[in-house]
Amino acid sequence: MTKSANLAFRLKMAKQKAEAFLRDEGITSLPVDPFAIARSRDIEVEPKPGTAGGVSGMLLRHGDVFGILYATHIKSEGFQRFSVAHELGHYFLEGHIDHVLPTDGIHTSHAGFVSADPYELEADQFAAGLLMPAGLFKRALGRHEAGLKAVEAMAELCQTSLTATAIRYAELTEDAVAVVISTGQIVDFCFFSDTLKSLPQLSWLRKGTAVPAHTATAQLNGDAQRVAQGDRVEEDIDIRDWLGGTRSARASEQVFGLGGYGKTLTILTCPSVQAETYQDEDEDDDESMTERWTPRFRG
């Protein structure tokens, strides 16, 4: 297995470990309460004072007693719950004793997909799986209209941040969507849903690339005040405006300023892609089947 395939596998397992944990504990409804889970294991959980920045959380141990300190300088309850769930990841994931305990009783974390350390990434994935387990998430998602509305509804249901929810949404939805987080004119990260990936020759928006010029996102991001006050814009676009590719597809671009941290959430929804797939399924046309099942090699 290559190194990156190995990491992808570890991350998937971490998420599944959290989902299996919920099943074993008989937790079958949302929101999942990471504080209650900590209590069930006799882990002390305490907030750091609201003014203190620094690490998002710490797992501490003294002898046989464990504790979690979590940051509250980011006011979002979703972020705080994620931070606690992340520390629970260090507590419940196999092998993390080597990561967090070389010499000390303290482990500190920066939760929220900002670290490249595999153990931290695993703990993030555990947190995502714990607070947004695939089965429950998908079932609830089915009731909502694709796009920002679905993300907002799911964030409210799971009590998770919009960013973390949007990432999980891209992973689990059957709609053709892309989720982009950007700061100013630069892309922080981007996730495609599986259905969107069926569009031929899309270009991946890598971390650090520029937000496509003349898009609603580029415009909103050009005005820090609008981002800070949580403005939102919706525009009809062609998916090629954002992602290139060889097939034109009508899409919607929804942009939402994430407040004082200067970040923007963009959700591109491409309803026609799914509609076309369904249409294909209705047709009993050998030729289109052949076309569809011929692998395409990306240049």
Partner: protein
């Protein structure tokens, strides 16, 4: 830093030693700790590493401390003295360090109360 064995390496040996001390078969220990029967063989053989949660269950089932299982102390009944060492100290800001210290003191007190 000196080249020490990883905690999970020391754990393998300590788990076996503690199990033999308590005269338990692997399957008996698994049952006491509410773990799958084959898990102890995996841990002792090194093919699986425990989580903190599992570590604590095993320590309880064996009536030893987690510090013993981690190789921090050599007496099965002892916990490490309450002087935490800070890894990545450079990464902790002054207030984080202070808060971690206070919190650890609280945990230490809780640990003492438990033993009473």
């Amino acid at each position: 830093m000196t080249q020490e064995s990883a905690p999970s390496e020391l754990f393998r040996e300590r788990l076996k030693a503690a199990r033999e001390l308590r005269e338990l078969k692997q399957s008996e220990l698994a049952e006491r700790a509410k773990l799958p029967p084959s898990s102890i063989a995996h841990f002792e053989g090194g093919s699986r590493k425990p989580s903190f949660d599992t570590l604590r269950r095993l320590a309880n089932a064996l009536e030893v401390t987690t510090d013993y299982l981690l190789g921090r102390v050599d007496d099965p009944g002892l916990a490490e003295a309450g002087d935490p060492l800070y890894r990545d100290i450079g990464k902790l800001t002054g207030t984080d360090r202070e808060m971690a210290k206070n919190f650890l003191e609280m945990l230490a007190n809780k640990s003492k109360e438990k033993k009473k």
